[in-house]
Amino acid sequence: MTTAPRAVRRAAPRSRRSATPTDPAHALLPAVEPVRMLDETGSRLPAHPDYPEPSTADLRELYRRMVVGRRFDVQATALTKQGRLAVYPSSRGQEACQVGAVLAVRDTDWVFPTYRESMALTARGIDPVEVLTLLRGDWHCGYDPAARHTAPQCTPLATQTVHAAGLAYGEAYQGRDTVALVFIGDGATSEGDFHEGVNFAAVFKAPVVFFVQNNRYAISVPLSRQTAAPSLAYKGVGYGVPAEQVDGNDPMAVLAVLTRAVAHARAGNGPYLVEAHTYRMEAHTNADDASRYRDGAEVEAWRDRDPVTRLEAYLRGAGALDDAAVAAIAAEAEAYAADLRERMNLAPAVDPLSLFDHVYAEPTPQLREQREQVRAELAAARDTEGDA
């Protein structure tokens, strides 16, 4: 096979990976343009040589979970206004990434989410009340990470990338074919831990998929202050890790690219890096004021690339979705939100003395003393209340 001139490849994105086998970098570089399978109206683009189209059943499931996910996200935002959540980072606009990625892995695979992945976790089937436990003000992550194969949502940026490398290596070490899927933001790729995590995974050929949701902002910091690289996917080659870019608002492409990446990792070929180009439609969290750093026109432009309507249009066009089905899914989403709202309205009972239970496997003598002190304080406070 001879090398096609770049300009041509650019116009009609094709995999560059098999083009020039003599250059060691060549198998690792992403295609120059992000992989796309649906255009902004939901029409199917020409078939991509590397990425077979996901099954209609999978796409319908993807659509269903995106609709429910978006409704969940709106509900969670509403809960902050009612004071039921301390804070909530919305992922509206990123539904294709949040749901597409978790659909690409098995239940036995591990997911390493950040604070922004609440939707991904509910799409994974974790109880939304559990997912929101920390954000409502409790001291633990809510769900059982071991049972759900899902690490606690990670706030210190990029630190989870290294855990994922370790977990994936440890699983393979013990003969299990688990893949670890790490979510990370564009901003967090600047942290040293990103570098170390990807590098460890590469050196130890750990089955990890690093999934960068490049939503163009890190709170207020724009991508241009994060990197001067052509795109974040170009970081892969520096670790010997194959990488791809994908249109993060194209649900079909996200699912297809992630599926291939997961298969690559599961087959023992080591890690894979995927960068999804997407956009955070809401502020960073409910506490943030995005109008300070980006204008409405920019946000509006991204409304036209909405991943939910895009997939809906495609599925309708393909005859896989009709009004009745759309209505049924919408109703399911409403019911989901209503149930969440209801359960979140019950104030959780949190025992202050539970603070001492899991600092160590057994409380130290010092913690036992402090527990006793707090117990006495609480008793005294109850007495005072009783007196009053």
């Binding site: 301390a86 804070v87 920390l134 954000l135 003000g137 409790d138 001291w139 706030t155 210190p156 940026l157 901003g187 967090a188 600047s190 942290e191 040293g192 831990d193 890190a218 709170i219 207020s220 910091v221 202050r225 994060q226 990197t227 943030d288 300070r292 750093y293 959780p348 949190v350 202050p352 603070l355 001492f356 600092v359 409380p363 130290t364 003598p365 010092q366 913690l367 036992r368 003393e369 402090q370 527990r371 006793e372 707090v374 304080e377 005294a380 406070a381």
Partner: protein, 344 residues
């Protein structure tokens, strides 16, 4: 300046004014970090600086705390005076190596030929309903690292004055801003210059015992002293302001006068700055003491979440309970009778 009228302002605004005035006064000052530019910082401490001074003087960086601090080291080597913001306490940990091995040591390693006159601003401690990793009291890590100065204001005027002093200082200063006091307000005359770094202040004179506190614990100590009057105790309050260097003279003079002391800190107690203060006070005031120097602190647990932070934080009750144990009747503290040790 003497006739500038006092105005009601917040600690956040005072810090913002200090940065603006420092930028205006000295071309070498540059302010940077995560979200400090257009957004003005998540606590708005850098609000308006980009607009007023341009994006050369106040700018956002990639998200990388070691990078931010290390970049500041390089800027300082080139002759500038960087002021960097760590977004929250626990998010300064990635910079720990840069701080401990470079910021703290560069002057010493070069026999004073290079210095790093930089300020690392760290919004710290809790009381704001923050979720995990957002409320650490991290002062001990810095205070235990020779070569760093460590200061923390408890009042609006001190916030302004200490930040200006920190920026003017030829040594690196870790400037710890108690988040829960950001929006506390007071009448203040700005630009205020209280006292140089290294001076504690007696916030309240007292006869019976001395409460020693800094940063977020100062208002708690003052409130406790007020409440103690009902119990018949006249408590003094010393605000350390500067942890490194520590003002032994002011603290020990007070304790020698009262003969009793309680150190109040918000951080987890074990091996914290409260331990240092208790240790040095009893070393220096032993013969004046009628009771051990006691400590009130946060619990030795990860900082707890909004729903339970009041359980963790030393409040007025815990302070008064502790004052009550200052052996007023010369009885040993029953808590420390041998059989109690380690039991619960």
């Amino acid at each position: 300046m003497a006739d500038t009228p006092a105005v009601k302002t917040t600690m956040a605004k005072a810090l913002n004014a200090a940065l603006a005035d420092a930028l205006a006064a000295d071309d070498r000052v540059v302010v940077f970090g995560e979200d400090v530019g257009q957004l003005g910082g998540v606590f708005r401490i850098t609000d308006g600086l980009l607009a007023r001074f341009g994006d050369r003087r106040c700018f956002d960086t990639p998200l990388a705390e070691a990078g931010i601090v290390g970049f500041a080291v390089g800027l300082a080597m080139s002759g500038l005076r960087p002021v960097v913001e760590m977004q929250f306490d626990a998010f300064a940990y990635p910079a720990f190596e840069q701080i401990a091995s470079h910021v703290a040591k560069l002057r010493n390693r070069t026999r004073g030929r290079l210095s790093v006159p930089m300020v690392i601003r760290v919004p710290y401690a809790g009381g704001i309903g923050g979720v995990e990793h957002h409320c650490d009291s991290s002062e001990a890590y810095y205070a235990h690292t020779p070569g760093l100065k460590v200061v923390t204001p408890a009042t609006v005027s001190d916030a302004y004055s200490l930040l200006r002093a920190a920026i003017d200082d030829d040594d690196p200063v870790v400037f710890l801003e108690p988040k829960k006091l950001y929006f506390s307000s007071a009448e203040a005359v700005l630009p205020a210059r209280t006292e140089p770094i290294g001076r504690a202040v007696v916030r309240r004179a007292g006869r019976d015992a001395t409460l020693i506190a800094y940063g977020p614990a100062v208002p708690v100590a003052l409130e406790a002293a007020e409440a103690a009057r009902e119990e018949g105790w006249d408590l003094g309050v010393v605000d350390c302001r500067s942890i490194v260097p520590f003002d032994d003279a002011t603290v020990t003079a007070e304790v020698r006068r009262t003969g009793r002391a309680v150190v109040v800190t918000e951080a987890q107690g074990f091996a914290g700055v409260g331990a240092e203060i208790a240790a040095r006070v009893q070393e220096r005031c032993f013969h004046a003491l009628h009771a051990p120097v006691l400590r009130v602190s946060g619990l030795d647990i990860p900082y707890p979440p909004p729903m339970l932070e009041h359980t963790h934080l030393p409040g007025v009750d815990r302070v008064l309970d502790t004052v009550a144990r200052l052996q007023w009747d010369d009885q040993p503290d029953p808590r420390w009778l041998p059989r109690m040790e380690g039991a619960a």
